[in-house]
């Protein structure tokens, strides 16, 4: 019996991915959980495993294709014992999406085998712009009003109804796309011809780059950011770090200031529930989270990624340092799983290694705050016995003013500064 292996659900909002490489070819024997293709999504590079055992009878994609969730990747001649899992997994994955919109397949699947997917639907005809301008928009008055109310230019909406008629659903879909697409062509000012000023080169934006651009663009333009600057005395933290370094190394990690800051931030989130939150603007509600996952911005040659350390409140600093070391390595090799990139409540971004002082980090929406850590430097500080050399780290906290007022943001940051200044209670073990 042949079975189509389709691109599985990849997580919230991810609908398609680019194929980086195909790891099997026709005639290959694959076992359950063997990687079959490597894809790049908006968030990460992932190897898609086979959920079946069998022989590859057809490969339907090739490197460079864009595949949608539910689209057939390859067909397997399944061996008997693979089947039970096949049916259960099949139900979980979405039904095949019509291969219509902007999807490039290597070739149309010659034959659809079990389970049958719906035939490709041609995209609705698009009216050429010149004629469209002369005609009234193909939508009812109530739909036009609805579009205006949610701020959508109904002329930009592609209708999915008979003849291309635009429905409320089409307007909603368009607005959702807009929300993720950042500024539209019309809102972007035309660029000058840079080649007039000197030689230039144009390079395409990678998918990760585009995603970062959209994500931070959206966050910067919709979240009223407030950034507070403070400095923490990390002299004692640094001493404790040196003392505990070897413990972390023994466990396969590298104890950094970031690991300690992550632990402190989780404590601050417990003390300030409004920072451990997200804003549901549509429902006019604030979502308070009863878990304490902290994201860490990681610099990779593909661009920024933010892997997440879960349940920081239940981990000691050594555990955190080991996990952080592993995540960083995965981030650099592009092997983070989607699960490792989702679910953070706040992010910590440490630019200290690059010598940066204070800066204004952009919130990783839907978080409501982000903590930036700069380079710690020895400074002369007046203590009880006069001037003392102290190690001072610049901290920058950006928060979402819709959820957190200035004074509360300042209290939150103070809490962190105090905790870093008196690190005795910090748990390195246990």
């Amino acid at each position: 019996m042949t079975t189509d292996i389709k691109l599985p659900e990849l997580g919230e909002n991810i609908e398609e991915a680019d194929v980086l490489s195909v790891l099997v070819s026709e005639g290959d024997q694959v076992f359950k959980d063997d990687p079959i293709i490597e894809i790049e999504t908006e968030k990460a590079t992932i190897e898609v495993p086979s959920f079946l055992e069998g022989t590859v009878s057809r490969v339907a994609v090739s490197a460079g294709d864009t595949v949608e969730v539910g689209q057939v990747i390859l067909t397997l001649d399944a061996s008997e014992d693979g089947e039970p899992q096949a049916s259960t997994r099949e139900e979980e994955s979405r039904p095949a999406e019509p291969a219509g919109r902007g999807v490039t397949t290597a070739e149309p699947p010659p034959e659809v085998t079990a389970p049958a997917s719906s035939p490709p639907i041609a995209p609705p005809p698009h009216i050429p712009a010149s004629e469209e301008g002369a005609l009234p928009v193909f939508a009812s008055p109530s739909t036009r009003t609805f579009a205006r109310e949610i701020g959508v230019d109904v002329r930009q909406v592609r209708g999915s109804g008979p003849g291309g008629r635009i429905s409320d659903e089409d307007v909603k879909l368009h607005s959702r796309t807009l929300a993720f697409a950042g500024p539209t062509a019309e809102t972007v000012r035309p660029l000058p011809d840079f080649s007039e000023f000197g030689p230039i080169e144009r390079i395409p934006m990678s998918r990760v780059r585009r995603t970062i651009a959209e994500h931070v663009g959206q966050a910067a333009s919709t979240i009223p950011h407030v950034t507070l600057f403070e400095s923490a005395d990390v002299t004692e933290v640094e001493e404790m770090r040196s003392r505990n370094k070897s413990k972390s190394e023994a466990a396969g990690g590298k104890l950094t200031i970031t690991a300690i800051v992550i632990k402190v931030v989780a404590g601050a989130l417990e003390a300030f529930p409004m920072v451990n939150a997200s804003l549901d603007a549509k429902r006019r509600e604030i979502v308070l989270k009863r878990y304490f996952h902290v994201g860490v911005a990681a610099d990779t040659d593909r661009g920024l990624v933010v892997p997440v350390i879960r349940d920081v409140d239940r981990k000691n600093i050594i555990d955190i340092s080991v996990e952080l070391t592993k995540l960083a390595a995965k981030a650099r090799s592009g092997k983070l799983s989607l699960g490792e990139l989702q679910g953070g409540n706040i992010a910590v971004t440490n630019l200290g290694g690059l010598g940066t002082g204070h800066f204004t980090p952009i919130i990783n929406a839907p978080d409501v705050a982000i903590l930036g850590v700069g380079r710690a430097e020895l400074r002369p500080v007046y203590g009880e016995s006069g001037l003392e050399p102290r190690l001072i780290a610049p901290l920058s906290l950006s928060f979402d003013h819709r959820v957190i007022d200035g004074a509360d943001g300042a209290r939150f940051l103070h809490w962190i500064v105090d905790a870093l200044g008196k690190p005795q209670p910090l748990a390195f073990e246990g």
């Binding site: 004629e131 005609l135 009234p136 193909f138 701020g151 003849g163 291309g164 008629r165």
Partner: protein, 474 residues
């Protein structure tokens, strides 16, 4: 500006079909409204000297024509006897009833009514001069200008004589002249000319361009013109009035080109050469509102002028100068003031010529499609094939659809025939909803009615109209 929590103060200038619905809607939304107009009750041109009196008189004309046509059905009436005072009284009573009703609705809504002429002092204040010359200052957060339009004139016709009438004087129905020259073959001239013709006046229509009702699709006008050629004395196209002079018991009119049958003496002349927006003497100079070369106040899609606190709607804000367009804009402007993201963006504004037969259209016309180079397919259903038209002894109508070929979407509709004005409403809904020809074809229409002609024209589009054998065009 009013303080938070206080009601918004709205001043509406002009109480026609733009102004009074704006005032009423604003009052319904809880705003503090002042409505200003020289008449004692709301109504504007439309009720006092436009739509309503003209339609009343056209109904009377229709009764006369019906009684004449009854002979076709084997019923003979003696020639009708017109009691001019009675007719005038009935028309005036109709106007009084409606405007009085609006006055009551105004009072019930507690709209503050100031009788008089308004002028802007600045972007937040008006001065109103009452009928007795008294002056009142009205301050507002937002003003809506709905001052309408007035009959236009041209220098050649500028003769100060009681024999030269505009539409207002013609509607007054002071007498029934033996002869009348209607200058201008637009809808107002044809409607009023039709009235006087039915009352017994010998009517000549002179039109400067090559056809009656300029801009309207020719196939529709042709049907009307055939009947008018019987009802009116003469229709002179491509002809201009060069001069009018008083001469004895009438007016001597000089036309160009001069011909044997043209020119001559008329007891009265009706000048119906268009309408001019009332944007002068309003003090708009003291605000940032701007006026176009044709005199229309310039607005955005919400009907906001260059002065953010001032809106303009109705005839004074642009074509088409029709009552229902004014009312549609009224709602948009008030909703905009209330903070809603409203916009005036109709796909189809209907227009009706209440002649006999009536002509009605909406959305894109064939003429406009040609001009704008929009490719359309036209499906026409002639009423000769309609059972209802036969029972009415009126088989001279036609119904046509203007269709976008690729989507088969109905972009416009045109109808000529008795009752076209009522029938077009379905066309407006079809265009607004983005109906496709198939939708109209598969919608069951009552039999026997003229509304079936809409469904049948959809059938013509597909070449399957049961009562008419037509090859699909294009």
């Amino acid at each position: 500006m009013s303080q938070a929590g206080e009601k918004l103060r709205i001043a509406v200038i002009g109480a026609g079909p733009g102004g009074y619905p704006a005032a009423f809607h604003a009052a319904d939304l809880g705003m503090d409204v002042t409505l200003i107009d020289p008449e004692p009750n709301p109504g504007g041109v439309c009720l006092y000297r436009g739509c309503i009196p003209s339609k009343a008189l056209l109904h009377a004309a229709g009764v006369i024509r019906e009684s004449e046509r009854a002979a076709e059905l084997g019923i003979r009436f003696p020639p009708p006897e017109v009691d001019l005072e009675g007719l005038r009284g009935w028309k005036d009573k109709t106007v009084r009833q409606l405007t009085g009703g609006l006055g009551m609705l105004r009072d019930r809504r507690k709209v503050d009514y100031v009788q008089g002429w308004a002028r802007f002092l600045d972007a937040h204040a008006l001065e109103v001069t009452g009928p007795g010359g008294d002056e009142v200052r009205v301050e507002f957060d937002y003003a809506i200008v709905a001052t309408g339009s007035r009959p236009a004139t041209v220098p050649a016709l500028d003769l100060d004589s009681p024999r030269v009438m505009d539409s207002t004087e013609a509607l007054a129905l002071n007498d029934v002249p033996t002869s009348l020259l209607v200058v201008g073959g637009g809808y107002i001239g044809l409607e009023l000319g039709t009235v006087y013709a039915a009352l017994g006046t010998s009517v000549t229509v002179v039109e400067m361009t090559s056809g009656l009702l300029p801009g309207v699709d020719r196939d529709l006008v042709d049907v009307l013109q055939r009947r008018l050629e019987g009802d009116l004395d003469r229709i002179l196209l491509d002809t201009k009035v060069v001069d009018i002079a008083e001469s004895g018991a009438g007016l001597r009119v000089e036309l160009s080109p001069q011909s044997d049958e043209s020119g001559g003496e008329y007891e009265k002349v009706l000048v119906s050469v268009g309408r001019r927006p009332n944007s002068e003497n309003l003090g708009l100079e003291s605000t940032d509102a701007e006026v176009s070369d044709q005199g229309f106040i310039l607005t955005d899609s919400q009907r906001r002028t260059g002065e953010p606190s001032i809106f303009a709607i109705g005839d004074v804000a642009g074509e088409p100068m029709l009552a229902h367009k004014a009312t549609g804009e009224a709602r948009v402007a008030v909703d905009a003031i209330a903070g809603h993201p409203s916009a005036f963006d109709p796909s189809a504004v209907p227009a009706v010529v209440f002649t006999d037969p009536e002509i009605a259209w909406c959305g894109l016309t064939e003429t406009e499609a040609d001009k704008a180079n929009v490719r359309v397919e036209v499906a026409t259903y002639p009423w000769v094939a309609s059972g209802r038209a036969a029972t009415l002894s009126r088989r001279d109508g036609l119904t046509k659809l203007i269709v976008q070929p690729r989507t088969e979407r109905i972009l416009g509709m045109g109808i000529v025939g008795p009752g076209a004005g009522e029938l077009i409403a379905e066309g407006v809904l079809a265009v607004e909803m983005g109906a496709r020809v198939k939708d109209l074809e598969l919608t069951i229409h009552p039999h026997p009615t003229l509304s079936e002609s809409l469904m049948e024209s959809a059938g013509v589009f597909f070449g399957v109209s049961p009562h008419y054998i037509a090859r699909r065009r294009g």
